[in-house]
Symmetry: C2
Subunit: 417 residues, 2 copies
């Protein structure tokens, strides 16, 4: 009925071993033929003959029809996936950076060589978001997606907000637990979340956006004053990537810390868990929650891709292929909380409509509107330790955008959320 998959596995780290744990003992019509590893000295529980350090051995192996790529290095992963797709092998990958950076080319290769590349495990681990975006929602009817895409930064925020832990101690703890990137700025600076957002946006709207064009502001500058402010208002701060349609033709994307209220599902998403909220015209609001990081949750997502390959599943990239005329824009105003030291920062960012202002000798903030364009232009300024910025959740649209949204089945209430 379904095709027997003979797998060449690249990488036997936490996800590769997680995958192996899950496959073990299940009757799945799947066989791991060979595993490519970096360090042949490391002690492993499996038969030595399964392992090799020669990548080409897997790619040339006549029995292997499926490559599962689970290595950290995005460049090496790119080379492997490209060769595999060209040589007629289907591929499963969980490498979000590699996929976000090379998606257009990888789609072209799949088309040209009739092969399939699946990567559910690359975005939010165990949450089946790519498949859902691909199959459920027409881009016209999808108002927006957002969520918590990075478990490490969310873990840090949970410890700070629920246990009063310091940022530094929380960061150390997440590193000790082993689910942080080796360079912490990739997690806490919102880069990891940004790559995942780029992939999700490709399947949501058919827009392949260069990750460099997506704003990512992280939580690395969060101070005790910011936490105190949020707690007094009964907010939590979460790091939230967002893609949102703001008119019939325009999509905005950003990764920003956000004040979250207690009646929002995101509020209760703690520690290394991830979630995705989808708003759409027909399915209305959907919310997916699950473990985002770690070998087993990601392994489960990888396994579901492997299972799908058995019956020849491919992403169709329908929204991308049909040239829907959507464009990525920065032409929108976000309401933000901005903590700063020098008035210069407020002026440089062109904060407008300031509706709240506080200042004493240790702590200054404003709440007002800023354009996404200005934030992107001043990314470096926002890296300064004396600046922290968080989205209040409000977006201000131009009259034209509101009109466009109305024509597009969106209600203003939806826009304002």
């Amino acid at each position: 009925m379904s095709k027997k998959l003979k797998i060449g596995l690249f990488g036997f780290g936490v996800v590769g071993q997680g995958l192996h744990d899950i496959i073990k003992g299940q009757d799945l019509n799947i066989e791991v033929i060979k595993i490519a590893i970096k360090n042949p000295e490391k002690k492993r529980n499996l038969d030595k003959k399964l392992f090799t350090t020669d990548h080409q051995e897997l790619l040339d192996h006549p029995d292997i029809n499926t490559i599962v790529e689970l290595i950290d290095d995005a460049d090496a992963a790119y080379a492997i996936v490209k060769k595999a797709l060209i040589s007629g092998k289907n591929v499963v990958s969980a490498n979000k950076k590699m996929i976000a950076l090379h998606l257009a080319e990888l789609v072209a290769l799949q088309k040209k060589y009739g092969t399939s590349l699946l990567y559910e495990g690359s975005v939010c681990g165990s949450i089946p978001i790519i498949r859902n975006l691909e199959e459920y929602y027409d881009n016209e009817l999808l108002h927006g997606i957002s969520g918590i895409f990075n478990g490490s930064s969310n873990y840090i925020l949970s410890k700070i907000f629920n246990e009063g832990m310091s940022y530094d101690l929380a960061l150390k703890q997440v590193q000790d637990l082993g689910f942080a990137e080796s360079d912490p700025i990739l997690d806490v600076g919102g880069y990891d979340a940004k790559y995942k957002l780029a992939i999700a946006t490709a399947h949501a709207y058919g827009l392949f956006i260069n990750p460099d064009h997506i704003l990512n502001i992280g939580i690395q500058n969060l101070s005790e004053s910011d936490v105190k402010y949020a707690k007094e208002k009964n907010f939590k701060i979460k790091l939230v990537p967002t893609a949102r349609k703001i008119s019939t033709q325009q999509v905005i994307t950003y990764v920003l810390p956000k004040f979250v209220r207690s009646d929002d599902f995101i509020y209760n998403v703690e520690n290394e868990y991830n979630c995705v909220t989808v708003q759409a015209a027909f399915a209305d609001k959907q919310f997916f929650f699950g473990k985002g990081a770690g070998g087993h949750p990601t392994g489960a997502a990888v396994l579901s891709d492997i299972a799908a390959l058995r019956y020849g599943y491919k992403y169709e990239y329908k929204k991308y292929q049909q040239q829907n005329g959507l464009v990525h824009t920065d032409n929108v105003n976000l309401e933000v909380y901005l903590r700063y030291e020098h008035e210069y920062t407020v002026e440089k960012l062109k904060i407008e409509n300031i509706r709240e202002r506080f200042s004493n000798k240790d702590y200054k903030y404003v709440i007002g509107n800023v354009s996404l364009k200005s934030l992107l232009e001043n990314r470096e300024l926002l890296q300064n330790k004396d600046v922290f910025i968080a989205h209040t959740g409000k977006i201000t649209y131009t009259a034209q955008q509101i009109l466009g949204a109305k024509n597009n089945l969106l209600s203003i209430a939806t826009l304002e959320n």
Copy 2:
């Protein structure tokens, strides 16, 4: 690449029209050839030639390769689906009662005739739970599933708890909104939730349970005293279907009102929304939330099944086929809140370990343990207006069950939730 689907559609009610709304304007390689309806007099927006009242015309039509069955009548639906599968046509259905009652036969027919029957829309509307249970979780590693499966009863509970509305008025409102079953007891009595639970349990554990053997206690006897009690403890009451593995070999299932705490995701699931919580060893906890009732959410799920048929997707029923030795049992004790009038009720149900007891002339309750077996044996007694029962969430296991659970990668903490 993917096969063109030529559809014969049975039923053009709220889901059928919802499906049609969604398909319209999308480039999906799908064509609706003919629609079978009951009443030819009703005014419709589509070309008259599309409609027929003759079922056989669709089943015999040489161009139609896919049947989409969206009618209310479970018996008629069964006849249609059976004939379609036998005649080599793939089928999508959203009829939970029909599927729950005939699953074993429908699986055998699919196998014998090489056809595929998909029914994501039958359980929790827009939430992709069947596909996830089918593809993600090995039954050994799945601790339990629960959630809110019936939008109408949840809507009533939301109105009672959040707006202080009376039960009767809330029921009337949900009927006016058009997403209630014609006989309200199917919703508020937990029957609808039970059919959905039976289907979910089939895909979770490979157990095809006769719905008659699943306890369903509803919310129809909920009184103001019960609501007041729950509110004082900061609980909400939700109607929660549950399937849970309690040892390596045993699965329990029931639909019961449940006291839910504010840190549980279910707490914030309001009105006609549905949710599913899945606990598993590798993926850990997952939570899915979305609209359960209504034409568009269910239509979206039906469309995703149709999309899956284009690339030949079938449920494999692996857990069922592999004869995993799991059995359905009632041999477990649940901690419950029982409001009653006559002491006879407490005795008859054999409530044990009573840890809280209250009684005045208008209101009597106990909190204690009761066996699932006893609840099943006394179903009729529990229908009496003077009795209301709700699960506190606690389950008491035998020492043997706890040992079995431990061997099965379950922690006691998991069991106690």
